[in-house]
Amino acid sequence: MKMQGAQISGKARVIGLEGTVKIELNINGEIYPLDVEPRWSLLKVLRDLVGLKGTKKGCDQASCGSCTVLLNGLPIYSCITLALDAMGKDIITIEGLSQGDKIDPIQESFARHGAAQCGFCTPGMILSAKALLNKAGRPDENEIAEALAGNLCRCTGYSSIIKATLETLHRLR
């Protein structure tokens, strides 16, 4: 039996740039000097170098949204964003939404509506919602769904997530 195209093991071998470069990243309002390999994703740098583990790795392929962070206020997949490309931009992770006991209203709403079940998609989901709330206007349920469509959740069936976002919207506007 001859096998074609069925090799499952292994990604392409890492070729090219070796060694690290020194960069600075502005994460949650703080400057972090870092040594990174140019090929490293922002997700890897946040989790493994900075130790901000609230940003989750669910697929590493821009398909689930668990790794969502805000870059200059816009939600992006940190798994397909190079750390180098985040230089000079404001990075907000889930850890940046709370200060001590004070949490963001969107976090409060998610908690009270049971919008976090296993909680693994929650940081990314909250940041996508936060980006929407930061914009002007009064998005309706459909616009909320559009804004969160890049974030997969397997637990909630999304309805508590929409309720939590709507409620925050009502409180803020």
């Binding site: 499952i8 790795k57 992770t93 949490i103 009270r112 469509a149 997969l152 069936g157």
Partner: protein
């Protein structure tokens, strides 16, 4: 109307106790665990669907500067694992594309990945088989020496259960129908790909693991590595979703442990998404033939089901889905006098079948949901009548338990209420609402019923309650949180019994070193009843000890004492009082502690019932089905926490939508490998696919639970897919008998209809 005016916590939508940590992103999942000096391991997987490993040359791997340990089949204990004892940690044989061949641990993940390429493996390819019916033929290539049919042969099913006589039942029928259905591989698709960290210190093995069953994983690690169970610790506190997919043991845990033993350092294995999709478990696909007959009044006189199930390359996990699926005909349709359920499970060179929400029941429930709809149409009556006439009623004897136990009666059934409330909510058979449809769109309604275990499992669960000197109580329990937030409902129940507010009840869980035993784990919708009853009994014992001590301390009559908010007062003299904390100190001064502990057995006579009503809109030009509404009533006995309960129902309903319409692991016909190995082509519902989902809680008060509750996580899923598929028929007259109901099948059906 307040039905339980005296209850302060039970029945209330208390905010989940871990919610604030989850929204902050501060919960530590297995994938977040990092230990000092930790190595990262990767698994080499088979490129062949079926082959013997002739030779593995690993010299180059060993020479890689960053590799610290490797394992092949030559390094593993020769002790078989799994329910069928049909797998080893590694073998010189591979049985599907993706099977584990070897593994390396290196200083970083990239180096481990790189080192995998340096293995030189010589395979001797063997003939492979991917279809269970082909695997059952006598000339099929064998995956295991005992034959491909698990625990059976071509004349002996893997599992069979029957009552009455099918032939005479069919003779009594006015209408007889025979249909064949099929269901697909579905991934549980937890958002966190599984991960484990193993740390061997020369004497003790510690493992942080993505599991629903820490106690079982500990016992299996101890058995395979010949260690005392006390020298193995398994920790799983919060896991990023499971849905049955993190049930049982998996090879990677043993591989990580071996690599740690060889390297003397902690080792982490994280599955990538592709490994999680194909290297873990999938819902068993089945081909199911159903033959049944009914009289004109809708009474089903005979029901015969024959399943052929694809168990995949190994029963890595469990055959339970095959046997427990019989609960759908035997318990749900208990009033049918003649039933035969026979199932053949066959090995094939495909990914593994295993646990996914309501396993077995979801598939057979789906098929019977479709069959009853067809039968009702054939007779010319409303399917609700078929459901009403043939299903289990309070006090019916549970024949599936015979001959182990006879005369066991079902103790709580809220199915009739599920049907009436659901029908009212969707407007069943009422005039169709006049919302505007496009020219090519057709609207349809469908319904189905379901049930799943309300106190499932095979072994008891334990719980312990301790009163602390600060006046709080702590509940030790075995319940891993993989999204159910059961710590919340357990603390509510303990607080209710002890007369304490939520903030005075804490808990510890998910660590085999300090938590009570639970070999079955957080599966089978069992926590609310099984662990719940253990926690309640433990609380009652601790409370009794408190009162006894208080009676001594206050020199008051035991019966004259009452508890409120952490204080014990003498009823006849309310100034005489003592706090829990003071009593705990008093007990400590005498070298005593105020503790209660208990265990509770699972119960195969307790079931949670459900119905689903679906409204769909089908586009006859594109074949696309849009679910616009799901009404999902569930008999949960009693809602302990309506908020977390509704989260379970709505989540299950959407998984049912995915199962009905989009989710399928498609296999290549020639090599049996999964064609959609990533999230972008395995279609789990997104927020844009979400219909309006209306959960309805039905409370039938299960007498075996002091608050009347039973399980709830799986029953809601069972009737959703058949309700949707029946609604498609209602809309466009096309019966889709093989899941999922994708647009091509709808269009093909429309073409056949002409």
């Amino acid at each position: 109307m307040e039905m339980h005016p005296s209850e302060k916590l039970v029945g209330k939508s208390v905010t989940p106790v871990m919610a604030y940590d989850k929204v902050r992103g501060s919960v530590e999942y297995p994938s977040d665990i990092t230990l000092p000096d930790m190595l990262y391991a990767k698994i080499l997987r088979s490129p062949y669907p079926h082959a013997k490993i002739v030779k593995i040359c690993s010299e180059e791997v060993e020479r890689h500067a960053k590799v610290k340990a490797l394992v092949t089949y030559r390094d593993v204990p020769q002790i078989p694992m799994g329910q069928m004892r049909d797998m080893y940690v590694l073998e010189d044989r591979v049985r599907f594309i993706g099977d584990e061949v070897a593994a390396v641990a290196a200083e970083d993940e990239d180096s481990a990945e790189e080192a995998l390429q340096l293995f030189k493996v010589s395979y001797e390819p063997l003939k492979a088989v991917f279809d269970p019916e082909e695997a059952m033929r006598p000339d099929a290539p064998l995956l295991y020496p005992d034959g491909n049919i698990i625990r059976g042969s071509s004349s002996k099913p893997t599992f069979v259960l029957q009552k009455g006589d099918i032939e005479s039942g069919l003779k009594a029928a006015d209408v007889v129908l025979e249909r064949t259905y099929s269901t697909q591989f579905q991934s549980p698709l937890a958002m966190e790909p599984r991960c484990c960290v193993a740390n061997w210190d020369g004497k003790r093995l510690e493992v942080w693991e993505s599991t629903q069953r820490p106690s079982y994983v500990r016992d299996e690690l101890a058995r395979v590595f010949n260690l005392a169970p006390d020298n193995v610790r398994v920790v799983a506190k919060v896991v990023g979703g499971a849905f049955g997919g993190k049930n049982f043991v998996q090879r990677y845990t043993f591989i990580a442990s071996l690599l740690s033993m060889k390297s003397g350092r902690p080792v982490k294995i994280s599955f990538d998404r592709r490994e999680e999709l194909i290297g873990a478990y999938l819902r068993y696909p089945h081909k199911i033939c159903v033959k049944g007959g009914a009289t004109h009044d809708g009474r089903v006189t005979a029901l015969y089901l024959k399943l052929v199930s694809n168990a995949g390359n190994a029963v890595r996990e469990s055959l339970t889905p095959i046997s427990i699926a019989s609960r759908i005909p035997f318990v749900l349709y208990a009033r049918i006098p003649n039933i035969k359920y026979e199932a053949y499970a066959a090995y094939t060179n495909t990914p593994s079948g295993g646990g996914v929400r309501g396993y077995g029941g979801t598939e057979v429930g789906h098929v019977l949901g479709l069959f009853m709809d067809e039968l009702a149409e054939e007779i010319g009556i409303d399917p609700l009548e078929v459901y009403t006439v043939n299903t289990v009623k309070m006090g019916d004897e549970l024949s599936h338990l015979a001959p182990r136990a006879t005369n066991v009666k079902v103790s709580s059934v809220g199915l009739a209420e599920c049907l009436t409330k659901g029908a009212a909510a969707i407007g069943w058979r009422a005039s169709v609402p006049k919302s505007v449809l496009a020219v090519s769109e057709r609207r349809g309604f469908g319904c189905a019923i379901g049930l799943w275990t309300g106190a499932g499992g095979s072994t008891p669960s334990g719980a312990q309650v301790d009163v602390l000197e600060d006046g709080s109580v702590i509940l030790s329990n075995p319940v891993v949180d993989h999204g159910g937030e059961q710590q919340t409902e357990l603390r509510q129940m303990v607080g209710e019994v002890m007369g304490l507010p939520m903030e005075k009840v804490t808990s510890i869980w998910g660590d085999t070193d300090c938590c009570p035993e639970d070999l079955t784990g957080v599966v089978a919708s069992r926590t609310t009843l099984v662990v719940g009853v253990a926690a309640i009994s433990a609380s009652q014992e601790a409370k009794k000890k408190l009162l006894r001590l208080a009676s001594e301390y206050l020199q008051a009559d035991f019966d004259d004492l009452g508890i409120e908010e952490g204080l014990i007062r003498v009823r006849s003299n309310r100034d005489l009082k003592v706090s829990f904390g003071e009593l705990a100190k008093y007990a400590a001064s005498r070298g005593e502690s105020i503790t209660g502990s208990s265990t509770c057995q699972p119960n195969d006579s307790i079931y949670s019932f459900s119905a689903a009503f679906a409204e769909v809109i089908v586009d006859v030009e594109t074949g696309l089905v849009r679910v616009s509404k799901i009404v999902n009533p569930v008999d949960v006995g009693r809602a302990i926490n309506p908020l977390t309960l509704e989260g379970q129902i709505v989540g299950a309903a959407l998984q049912g939508c995915g199962y009905a319409l989009t989710e399928e692991m498609t296999l290549d016909k020639t090599y049996g490998f999964a064609l959609n190995q990533q999230l972008y082509d395995y279609k789990s519902p997104s927020i844009l696919d979400c219909p309006e989902i209306i959960p309805i809680v039905v409370e039938s008060y299960e007498p075996l639970h002091p608050f009347g509750a039973k399980g709830a996580a799986e029953a809601p899923m069972v009737p959703v897919a058949p309700a949707i598929v029946n609604a498609i028929y209602d809309a466009v007259g096309v019966r889709i008998r093989d899941l999922p109901a994708t647009p091509d099948k709808v269009l093909a059906g429309l073409r056949r209809k002409g």
